[in-house]
């Protein structure tokens, strides 16, 4: 306010100017609310908050995307990984199937139950995660569920159902080695 709008807009990137309050939580030494410029790299942020052995970062809350280690040079900005401010950090000790299950349980709870894709779709996605957890899945079925997720993204009535398949799709895509290459879901770090 004191320094004026021009100074403020010099911060950040072209399309995301200024600063942003980030709420950082999870496996790090200094969780909390940080005011940072838009355009900061994920790896820079992780360093700042003292996160070690980080495996994954869930950006944009439960309905955001989950990015793995090899994408940590991506930037937090509207043009890259966008967020309302929520950053959740998971280190190597976390089981991504459990993370996903937790997120899907949240959406099953939060669905209001009006429209079909969200009301039943989220439950079907959660059932799929549980199948993966038990190791009783088939890839045919998982692919069906991924397609279902894509339908939910476009056919649900409101934003909740449209974004609730995001973690399902992004975690299964970005962590497929961990989740599927380990036979029956007996995963690292459990």
């Amino acid at each position: 306010m004191v320094k004026g709008g021009k100074w403020f807009s010099e911060k950040g990137t072209d399309r995301s100017s200024g600063s942003k309050l980030f709420s950082v939580s999870g496996d790090c030494e200094k969780p909390g609310v940080y005011e940072l410029s838009w355009g900061i790299k994920v790896s820079e942020l992780l360093k700042l908050v003292g996160a070690k052995n980080t495996k994954a970062v869930q950006i944009g809350g439960a309905s955001g995307v989950c990015i793995p280690k090899d994408q940590f040079d991506r930037t937090l900005a509207y043009e890259d990984v966008t967020t309302g401010g929520s950053v959740m950090i998971f280190n190597e000790s976390r089981n991504m199937v459990h993370v996903l299950k937790n997120l899907m349980e949240f959406f099953v709870d939060e669905s209001c139950g009006q429209c079909t894709p969200c009301r039943i779709g989220n439950v079907k996605l959660l059932e799929g995660v549980e199948m993966i957890e038990k190791g009783s899945y088939t890839f045919v079925h998982i692919n069906k569920l991924k397609n279902l997720g894509r339908t939910m993204q476009v056919a649900s009535k409101c934003g909740l159902g449209q974004s609730s398949p995001n973690p399902f799709l992004s975690i299964l895509e970005n962590f497929k080695d961990e989740i599927f290459n380990n036979g029956k879901g007996e995963l690292n770090g459990r």
């Binding site: 669905s111 139950g113 079909t116 894709p117 009301r119 779709g121 279902l148 476009v154 056919a155």
Partner: protein, 637 residues
């Protein structure tokens, strides 16, 4: 009438259909759009669904219904609109910009299939053990999209208990797909407000207040929810088995009476187009099924006109001449849904209801007294069945006060749908039956009784008689062809005034009740016709506030939109167009009948000479043909 905000129907629940411009041909009244690369012009505010339907493009729907407000919850009707990230529900998308629509993209087809898959995964039960088999919207959607297996599993155990506590409506929520048509019917269309979605997310289910059984809430049994349910989740409490048992029992004399509306609608159950009367064919079929005699409820409809008309005359005489305090306007009591609605919502007005029973119950009482005596049959061996377009009639015949013959007056109510089922079970194809007449001693009924089936019919029938009684002139001289058009039509609330300019002599039948008609000379008879309980609510609130309708003398109320032809026991589906065709069938049949006025029905006159010897509203008729009502209120313990 102003649409008042009411507690029972929250405004938020009423996003009614979008207003269209009065003159779409004016500049700005219409808009050019592209559907599947074809240019079309539609009036501004047309929904994508309507635009597609007008251009012969089929869009599947489930939660959408012509009688109800938009919901947009099933998502089966989604289409792609260019420039939009998500698919749009076409039923809930009014066109206000020159958009480009695609209805068959991969995303659209995939989404529709997914939605059907998801609905089926939670739809318990199998098609072959469901009464809606081959008339189910979910089933036809599955067929349309070639669903050959359950992609996302199938619920194996029923989750909810079937609620068959009500005499009329049975709810099996395991088959519910949460389209919420029943909720919108109950809250918006009928403004009763018994059904509502309970819980959220996957645990959402349709229930009553506190999940009480339907018999313990203020359900009026109109059955409109059944008519609009796309699946078999709602149905009537079926008594076919007991009726078959009675037919099979040689000791029982099974009597059936048929109301006017089923005959005008039953053709739809046999694949025919709506609006064709199968009266004679139905009579033959009923005899072949094994009913011993077939009577016409129109006969007691004529009787109702005598009783209800006389009651009105007595009320008016007491009010105008004797200056007594009398409950006016008099309300009709033929519609059991309406009667229960009034008992629940306006219990302080039960005195305004005509004490005359409905035609069904009058017939029940006569069959087990007059007819039994005449034929020498022990009334306890008579099983009396009534074919009605109505689910509430099942409740009505089970009312504890309806035992004036010494027995249960009417044993079973049967809906049009159930009768069609019985006819099919008997291996009969109804449209091919030869025609036959009703049985004596109630063989003849007038057209006045017949038109009871459509809204305005009771009023028209009553006027045909009352006007002739009072003026002594033929009704044809006042209204061409005796068609009293001011009370016809599907307008929600109709109001008419009939000035009485001249009076004639008092007919013999009621001469002991009123000495002359001079007290009515110069008066204006004010009447109203109301159908659908949402409209009834408006009129009742107006009466309560001392408005225009409180000055009426006689008001006809029907619980169902369109009157009995749109009743809760009629063939599914029902739409405004189908109701209009059914009404036309009834009015056409009325036109073709030789006797069109209740008082010209010689059998009715005979019964007053033979049996009800002290005339309409006399002692005997009061015992058998009149009843009383219960002030139920909204709170049921």
């Amino acid at each position: 009438m102003e649409d008042k905000k009411t507690l029972r129907a929250p405004v938020s629940q009423k996003p009614h259909r979008i207003e269209k411009p009065e003159h779409p041909e004016y500049i700005g009244g219409s808009i050019s759009i592209e559907i599947n690369e074809k240019k079309v012009t539609v009036p501004l505010g047309t929904t994508i669904l309507e635009a597609c339907q007008q251009n012969q493009i089929h869009i599947p729907t489930l939660c959408n219904h012509k009688d109800l407000c938009v919901a947009g919850v099933c998502r089966i009707c989604v289409v792609q609109v260019e420039g939009m990230r998500t698919l749009q529900a076409s039923c809930a998308f009014p066109i206000t910009a020159p958009i480009k629509i695609k209805t068959t993209t991969n995303a659209v087809r995939r989404a529709r299939k997914h939605i059907i898959d998801l609905l089926l995964s939670k739809h318990s039960g199998e098609c072959y053990s469901c009464f809606r088999n081959s008339n189910c919207e979910l089933q036809s959607l599955a067929k349309e999209y070639g669903i050959d297996h359950y992609n996302f599993g199938h619920i194996d155990k029923p989750k909810y208990e079937i609620d068959d506590s009500s005499y009329s409506v049975v709810r099996d929520m395991n088959k519910c797909v949460l389209c919420k048509r029943c909720v919108r019917t109950c809250i918006d269309l009928q403004e009763v407000g018994v059904l509502e979605a309970i819980g959220r997310g996957y645990n959402t289910h349709i229930g009553t207040f506190g999940d009480k059984p339907l018999a313990e809430v203020i359900c009026i049994n109109c059955g409109q929810c059944i008519n609009r349910c796309p699946t078999g989740a709602l149905r009537t409490n079926d008594s076919r088995d007991q009726i078959w048992a009675a037919i099979d029992n040689p000791k029982k004399h099974v009597v059936i009476q048929t109301a006017p509306s089923p005959r005008a609608a039953i053709c739809e159950e046999f694949g025919m187009e709506a609006g064709q009367s199968l009266t004679g064919e139905m009579n033959t079929a009923l005899r072949r099924i094994g009913f011993d005699v077939v009577f016409d409820t129109n006969f007691t409809a004529d009787l109702t006109i005598f009783e209800e008309g006389t009651e009105l005359i007595i009320r008016l005489y007491n009010a105008l001449v004797k200056k007594e305090k009398v409950a006016l306007p008099q309300f009709t009591s033929c519609s059991p849904g309406w009667v229960k609605y009034l008992e629940h919502f306006y219990p302080e007005y039960v005195d305004n209801l005509s004490s005359a029973k409905s035609p069904q119950q009058m017939f029940g009482a006569l069959i087990k007294t007059f007819y039994a005596k005449k034929k020498g049959i022990d009334p306890k061996d008579i099983v009396s069945v009534a074919v009605m377009p109505c689910s509430a009639k099942k409740f009505e015949c089970n009312r504890p006060e309806m035992v004036d013959s010494g027995f249960k007056d009417v044993d079973y109510g049967l809906t049009t749908r159930e009768l069609a089922q019985m006819i099919k079970e008997a291996g009969i194809y109804l449209p091919e039956m030869p025609k036959s007449h009703f049985d004596d001693p109630f063989g003849e009924a007038s057209g006045a009784g017949l038109i009871f089936g459509a809204t305005g019919g009771v009023m028209e029938a009553a006027l045909r008689t009352v006007v002739e009684f009072i003026t002594g002139k033929k009704i044809e001289n006042i209204f061409a062809n005796a068609d009293i058009t001011p009370v016809r039509g599907f307008e929600g609330i109709k109001y008419a005034e009939l000035p009485i300019t001249e009076v004639g002599p008092v007919p013999k039948l009621i001469a002991h009740l009123v000495p002359d008609w001079n007290w009515l000379k110069g008066a204006t008879l004010k009447i109203a016709v109301v159908h659908g309980t949402a409209n009834a609510k408006k009129v009742m609130d107006d009466i309560k506030a001392g408005g225009k309708f409180s000055e009426c003398h006689f008001i006809e109320f029907m619980a169902c939109p369109g009157g009995c032809i749109g009743g809760g026991g009629q063939p599914i589906p029902t739409t405004p167009e189908i109701r209009m065709l059914r009404a036309k069938a009834i009015y056409d049949e009325d036109k073709s009948l030789p006797v069109r006025k209740s008082h010209e029905n010689r059998h009715v006159v005979e019964i007053y000479n033979e049996f009800l010897t002290d005339g309409p509203c006399g002692h005997i008729s009061h015992k058998l043909l009149h009843t009383h009502y219960v002030k139920r209120g909204k709170y049921i313990a």
